[in-house]
Symmetry: C2
Subunit: 96 residues, 2 copies
DNA sequence: CCGTTTGGTTTATATTATAAACCGATTTAT
DNA sequence: ATAAATCGGTTTATAATATAAACCAAACGG
């Protein structure tokens, strides 16, 4: 009945990050920060966690002389998200 | 876009408790423990939190000589749950 | 130069979740 | 009658998480 919820995704900020990355192909740090209205520190940490889990891919590079961190969701991340949503449905009564 | 998720409901065990109470009118401690497969300690703590927030009502009584703790969701709890689900939809892409 | 902004990371702290230990009452088994 | 196990929890300690605050190097603006 209640399947466990992937703790990596069951977090407001990380879920928002994944949600954005699902709809946008690629997003950089600044864009994610704007969209999620999070602090840089929090965003940095959560991006790392998603990256270490292999849910997203992070490329650090330059645009002109400025650094730029770009994130992209992986198939692993997509899969995990889909499973998370399925599990979550067991908790919500979406079948109203 | 990303409305904040009520932290009281954005918790696996508390969400499971609420989910059960939405479908069952009343449930006692033992039943909730069985259904959620949680430990007594964890369940006790989370029931308290939901109770203190006014999301559920807790009645402690007896059945025969044994103690019995019965939980029931309140209208406040129902409202909070509905809002939580609405907010959550903004994170999931349920509009596939 | 000097102060400020950009684009972050690191470290410290507050909050949360979870488990472990405990407790009084009640059965059950001896 | 009594010791041992079970029931129905609560309390307390610990581990994990989230969040914010402090910091940093490079770039830019005056």
């Amino acid at each position: 009945m209640f399947k466990p919820l992937d703790p990596l995704l069951h977090s407001e900020l990380r879920l928002a990050i994944i949600s954005i990355l699902l709809s946008v192909e690629e997003a950089d740090f600044v864009y994610l920060k704007e969209q999620t209205k999070s602090t840089s520190g929090n965003l940095s940490v959560q991006i790392d966690k998603l990256s270490e889990a292999g849910y997203i891919e992070v490329k650090r590079g330059f645009v002109g002389k400025r650094t730029r961190t770009v994130c992209k969701i992986t198939r692993v991340g997509i899969k995990a998200f889909e499973e998370y949503v399925e599990s979550l449905k067991g908790y919500l009564n979406l079948n109203k």
